[in-house]
Subunit: 291 residues, 2 copies
């Protein structure tokens, strides 16, 4: 959870990317363009940190940490495509398809999703953590990324476009869209360290709490942060006219919920003892972030 | 390699699909629409058959057989999208995006690719074959499906659109686009049965030979089969004006090559003894097919 660790994650991501300069060069560059475009690297940090607090060797969890980031990255490329959100910019840079065209962007997303599994299930990764833990961790990520997890959340988002939805639907959507990968990250860290059921249960509570808090803070920032200056201060996502936590709960109740969820996340860490200090600070920092 | 086995594969595929009738219903239906749209089921048959000839229990290989078909199916959905081949029909039926729209077709492809790994790495699949074989077989498929395999072949296809290419480039493209999954299918069957290096080497030769023969037969059918009636009788893929095995080798040489490759495939099977009779017939049938 520090700059040094983020640099290590960046180095590892770079190393797992295909590098040949042949006829596939544009595909490989397009994959690198999105995967190495920065970002907070929250998910890989969670994998490494949960591995550590469960007594595991975080270095051996690195391929799995990078795999989650590859899946996150592919989902952003596909989300930005014209048939989805049709976004021109991502983190201040042109989106993948704006640079490489739609066909390559589509394939780069497919290739990053596949590379996640190739990276986790390489002979070296399997040898490092053992086949049992490798298969179980990779299975966890597959479940989280697919139709019952992230892609499932994306379809709920799509189907409720321009609609007011209930708090229940909003939560189910976010549980898939962002919650599932955060949950998988925490669980994978535990699994790779050989953690027991009690530790996994604590990781579940922590992950679900910070995952939901993260979304509510996003909505709050749209209302109270810089975005408010751009006219997004109605508590509705102005782009789509759909419900947000702020429109459904109100600013005050939304803030209280973030506080409560953060406390729940911190309390859950008690089973890990003092070693979980960084995870505690991480939960608090996520709740207090201003961008 | 018979109707009964194909029915078993169809049943298993159906069973692995998500079924809930909730907000994600359209996604799930879209996945089913393409995955259950028929097809020869060549790849899953190869997984099961190689498992069998190596002395393994084919029933336990079923999740892995289905996973290859899921990846094949996702690749067809994405290939048909407007930003790729922009096809309206697939196997005589409207393509996925024509029925469900581009966004859902994109997500259905992503979800099927992910479901392949979820299916191979479920607790039940891991328990059936052991974590060692499950992780290795899933890793084999990931490598074959990604940037160095199938997606790599798709990008070579894209980059050489409307160009005449050399035989070397054509082979490299097909090695990725179709060869990689065929190779992975044969290897996975061996791996799941705990086969040794000699058997894997034989599977490699068989797979590479039938994979290339399959492509050449495709090109021959475009010239000599029904397609000829539609004006595709120049030995060039009329849609794209690109090179084919027939345009590069001529009909006679192309036919000889198919014969030679089929013989190589059949010869490679000798290490498996009499049990490989079905794989032999399969190679011959692929070479002699008329559609």
């Amino acid at each position: 959870m520090n700059k040094l660790e983020i640099q290590e994650i960046e180095n590892a991501l770079e190393q797992y990317l295909p590098q040949e300069k042949d006829l596939r060069k544009n595909l490989f560059e397009s994959m690198e363009y999105s995967l190495m475009a920065g970002g907070k690297r929250i998910r890989p940090q969670l994998v490494l940190e949960f591995c550590r607090v469960c007594g595991g060797d975080a270095a051996k969890a690195m391929p799995f940490a990078c795999a989650v980031e590859m899946i996150h990255s592919y989902s952003l490329i596909h989300d930005d495509l014209p048939c989805m959100d049709d976004d021109d910019l991502r983190r201040g840079k042109p989106t993948n398809h704006k640079v490489y065209g739609e066909a390559i962007a589509l394939l780069a997303g497919d290739a990053l999703l596949t590379l996640a599994f190739e990276t986790m299930l390489s002979p070296a990764s399997i040898a490092a953590v053992g086949a049992d833990r490798a298969a179980r961790a990779a299975g966890e990520l597959a479940k989280a990324a697919g139709a019952h997890g992230m892609v499932g959340g994306q379809i709920i988002d799509l189907e409720s476009e321009d609609k007011q939805v209930s708090l229940e639907v909003l939560e189910k959507m976010d549980e898939g869209k962002t919650g599932a990968l955060i949950l998988a990250s925490c669980r994978m860290g535990c699994i790779l360290a050989g953690a027991g059921e009690e530790q996994l249960r604590a990781a579940d509570v922590y992950a679900r709490s910070i995952g939901l808090a993260f979304q509510i803070v996003d909505d709050l920032l749209d209302v109270t942060g810089d975005a408010a200056l751009l006219g997004k201060n109605t508590g509705m996502d102005s782009e789509r006219g759909k419900s947000t936590y702020v429109s459904l709960l109100g600013v005050e109740k939304a803030r209280e919920t973030v506080e409560r969820l953060t406390q729940t996340a911190v309390d859950a860490l008690s089973v890990f003892g003092d070693s979980a200090k960084e995870l505690e600070e991480f939960a608090v920092a996520l709740a207090r972030r201003d961008h």
